[in-house]
């Protein structure tokens, strides 16, 4: 079980690293689409953390199998939250991209510093 414990922390480490990689794209890249991609990576990291929390050792996905007694189920609650969040994530991403498209049409560029210079 030592290995499993280490893996538990590994999931959270991956969450931390992916989250900060996304954050890095958001704060350091000037390109607006790049920022949005960074934002969606950030979002995925949060999804990963929630789904990591739902795992129960020896458990299975929370769909009851007919004829099987004494099943241990993983936690359905984080799954519900993330399931809806994925769909909401893609719609809000589309909203951001729509804004970027309009910015491109008005300013002729999608680089943040050039937009600031133009203002």
């Amino acid at each position: 079980m030592k290995l499993l414990e280490l893996l538990g922390y590994f999931n959270y480490w991956v969450f931390a690293i992916v989250l900060t990689v996304g954050l890095y794209a958001v704060i350091s890249k000037a390109n607006l689409i790049k920022k949005l991609i960074g934002l969606s990576i950030f979002q995925s990291a949060v999804f990963l953390m929630y789904i990591t929390m739902d795992k129960v050792e020896g458990g299975t996905a929370p769909i009851i199998q007919a004829g099987v007694e004494d099943q241990v189920f993983s936690n359905p609650l984080p799954q519900v939250l993330i399931l809806t969040a994925i769909v909401v994530g893609v719609s809000t991403l589309a909203l951001g991209l729509a804004m970027v498209v309009r910015i491109k049409e008005s300013y002729g560029t999608i680089e943040e510093n050039e937009i600031l210079d133009a203002d």
């Binding site: 499993l4 414990e5 893996l7 538990g8 922390y9 590994f10 999931n11 480490w13 969450f15 931390a16 690293i17 992916v18 990689v21 996304g22 954050l23 794209a25 704060i27 350091s28 890249k29 000037a30 390109n31 689409i33 991609i37 990576i41 990963l48 789904i51 990591t52 739902d54 795992k55 129960v56 050792e57 996905a61 929370p62 769909i63 009851i64 993983s74 936690n75 359905p76 609650l77 984080p78 519900v80 399931l83 809806t84 994925i86 769909v87 909401v88 893609v90 719609s91 991403l93 589309a94 909203l95 729509a98 970027v100 498209v101 309009r102 491109k104 049409e105 560029t109 999608i110 680089e111």
Partner: protein, 327 residues
């Protein structure tokens, strides 16, 4: 063994994320994003979240890539390298990462059954689902009944995002009044193989979407996944036949009706529950037998969710694609 796979896939996830951020070619960044999504889906599946993995599959493989590519076609596909804020960013990000990794040691390890997450309402949900709903998928039960308020909120967020995209992209393109004579060049008309295979496979995609919709109580699936899968099928039709053909098949009015009708259906079921003497979204009053009432309510609101998601994703796609045609 399975956990070694998980570590492996998670390492690939980190590498992909770093590669996405490093590249300046937005086109390859989008392609790497779809690899990222595949890896996320595999990880979700390994961590017992079949429903979430199905959602990620339905959204990440088709819709996200298509919307990104439409946006790239309207803007630019290369980012200009800039090194201005790099040092500050490295510093901030490095500090944040080390703080968070330090904090993870206070978390319960993976799979700990005594973790606080597993103590509150979750065991109750798992215990009561067979009794209250009498169907096997606990995720669907929680999604549409126990936590129906959350889902209603999420559906309205999707609705609002769709309206927002239509408002932003609905205005005419500035400084470009020429009609689009190249319209018939759109689509993959002269590519025979995608045409034939696409025509063969679109009905199956829609059929599979409907299966996911109505089998959601018994296996992985539900309105969110079904809406995304059906939307992907129609987007495939739009890619093959040209976007205007797809608009003829499913006109804008129908899409708007689906978006609004789905959201209204969800809210309306809640109000009907109140009128029939229950609480908002308490479906047990819908029929004489409370279990059957709940099942009925869940089927109706899942249909509402599916309609809203499908309509919203398709409206968003058409908003981007028709702007591309006009410019």
């Amino acid at each position: 063994m399975i956990f070694i796979f998980a570590v492996f896939l998670l390492s690939l996830l980190v590498i992909t994320a770093i590669a996405i951020v490093r590249t300046n070619n937005l086109f390859s960044a989008v392609m790497l994003t779809s690899i990222f999504s595949l890896l996320m889906a595999a990880n979700f599946f390994i961590l017992d979240a079949a429903d979430v993995a199905l959602t990620e599959a339905a959204i990440g493989a088709g819709v996200t890539t298509v919307i990104f590519l439409c946006a790239l076609a309207l803007t630019a596909d290369r980012a200009k390298p800039n090194k201005e804020r790099r040092k500050v960013a490295y510093g901030a990000v490095g500090i944040l990462a080390s703080l968070m990794i330090y904090a993870t040691f206070d978390k319960p390890p993976l799979g700990d059954p005594d973790a606080p997450v597993h103590q509150h309402v979750a065991p109750w949900y798992i215990e009561k689902t067979p009794e209250y709903m009498d169907f096997p998928n606990i995720v669907t039960a929680v999604l549409s009944s126990f936590r129906g308020y959350d889902t209603l909120g999420e559906v309205f967020v999707v609705f609002a995002a769709c309206i927002g995209v239509l408002f932003i992209l609905g205005v005419p393109v500035p400084g470009n009044a020429k009609p689009a004579p190249m319209q018939q060049k759109k689509g993959l008309h002269h590519h025979l193989i995608p045409q034939v295979v696409g025509r063969l496979i679109i009905p199956f995609i829609v059929l599979f979407g409907l299966y996911t919709q109505f089998h959601g109580e018994y296996g992985p699936g539900g309105g969110f996944q079904a809406g995304a899968i059906i939307a992907t099928g129609i987007i495939l039709y739009a890619l093959l036949e040209g976007e205007s053909k797809a608009l003829q098949a499913v006109p804008r009015r129908v899409l708007m009706g689906m978006v609004i009708g789905g959201a209204l259906l969800f809210g309306g079921v809640g109000v009907i529950c109140m009128l029939m003497g229950g609480n908002f979204l308490d479906y047990s009053v819908l029929a004489a037998d409370p279990v059957w009432g709940r099942q009925l309510g869940i089927i109706i609101i899942e249909a509402g969710v599916g309609m809203t998601v499908c309509g919203a994703l398709l409206s968003i796609f058409h908003a981007f694609a028709s702007r591309e045609r006009a410019s």
